[in-house]
Amino acid sequence: MTKPMTQDHFQSPDQRDEDAIVRKALNTLAVRGVSDHTDVTWKVRHKLSQNADFDSSRRWRYPLSALASLGLLLVLVAVGVWVALASAGAWPLRPSTSAAVSKEPLTMAEVRSMTVSADGSRAAFVDSRYRVTVWDLERERPIRALTTVTSPVRLLLDPSGVKLVVREPGQVSVWLVDQGTRLWQRELTASDSIILSGDGKWLAISTGVVVEIRDVQSGEHVATFSYRDEGVAAVHFGYDNRVIVVLTPKDHVYVKHIPAWKSKVTP
């Protein structure tokens, strides 16, 4: 039985090669872009419920729409008058406080936790699908994403947003955002808490009785401070990031100097 004729029979070998490459490229992009486990069922349900709510309320909302439109018109007129007066010098306009923040809402599904780098250039979010996304706030677009197995409970960015600390229930991991590589990770218990120094150099891990300081770049142990008699209620880094301040449940405050330390890891 002869093979049925298809469009490929009318193509040159070169063109068939190119088509095969395009197929592979598209397949790769598609598989990398959308994982096998992606599921829009919840989103369909959500949209369905929204539609149902709208349908059920459409009838009684209709008579109110004219009033709502009138109200909106009045608000717009008031805003227009205010802007006109302000630009004429009657009232000073306030400077914008959100210059570095996207004008458009960030397209994340049910953001659960977030952090912003100290310089305001980057933000990291975790959504309901355990996906951590780092956004470049100046260019207003996402730059990296990480899908974790368990739900991250805390995110920390270093001052410039270059390093991202992801705290999951059973571990902490540190990532280089631009390279998309993990620097290190360490197992933790669910009750351990973490804090990043202001300069992004140290990570303090509090187990409740012990405070451990680690180098953010290498994950190496730097120092351990024990408070087994009193426990640890809260930990903060000092202003110069060379001391840690520990508050105990007995309302004692301890200030400890972080010892001089040099990494054993060759850069």
Binding site: P4, R32, V44, H46, G180
Partner: protein, 217 residues
């Protein structure tokens, strides 16, 4: 629409469609399960964003639910549904012309790859993405339907509701644009990174009931 898919509507699908006709949303869940992955990937390639693709596909399922009475049960469901997805994706692109494509984040690399390999792979993928986004939305859609969905040109014309000659022209122009970057991509040895992905992709496709195109000549 005269699409040439000759595979019969699967039993699950026909039951689901019957439920939809009775306004029973349980049918929708079956259809979501059957068609979401391929539709999501197709939409992702067209709009260049996973989040947007999810919205587009979810909206497409809602539209299918609302317009199920327009669907001819004698024909396969998939092409009818994919037409909705394509139309919604193109509509979204028209309404969001300033959308920054392919900027949704890449998955971070798995530990099994060396850093150099990861960088090379990411670079190649970025090049392909950039090339794909140099195409117009209509050209890119034609490319995706032809080379990802494996539709014949005649089927693409029917799905996009344009003459066959228009589809041929769009594919010709798209090929010319893509040619150079894809050649470089091929020569960079990207394929060794793809093998696992493609096997997984093929396996996923085999387990789904998307109808294969029938030869037309």
């Amino acid at each position: 629409m005269q699409l040439s898919h000759d595979e019969a509507v699967t039993e699950d699908e026909s039951v689901a469609i019957a439920l939809l006709r009775q306004r029973d949303v349980r049918g929708l869940e079956v259809l979501v399960h059957l068609h979401q992955l391929r539709a999501l990937r197709m939409a992702f390639l067209i709009v260049g964003s996973r989040d947007v693709a999810e919205d587009v596909v979810a909206d497409a399922f809602i539209v299918a639910f609302e317009r199920i009475h327009q669907y001819d049960p004698k024909r396969p469901f998939a092409p009818w549904f994919y037409r909705i997805v394509v139309n919604l994706a193109l509509k979204w692109l028209r309404q969001n012309r300033r959308h920054a494509p392919w900027e949704t984040a890449e998955e971070w690399p798995c530990d099994s790859l060396q850093p150099d390999d990861v960088a090379a792979r990411n670079e190649s993928l970025r090049a392909v993405r950039a090339a794909l986004w140099r195409l117009s939305a209509e050209q890119r859609t034609a490319v995706v339907l032809r080379f990802y969905m494996d539709l014949e040109e005649r089927e693409i014309a029917a799905l996009m509701n344009v003459p066959l000659g228009t589809v041929k022209w769009r594919l010709h122009r798209a090929r010319r644009t893509l040619r150079e970057v894809l050649r470089q991509w091929e020569e960079a040895g990207e394929h060794r990174f793809l093998r696992t992905d493609l096997q997984r992709h093929d396996k996923a496709n085999d387990s789904r009931s998307f109808p294969k195109p029938r030869s037309t000549r």
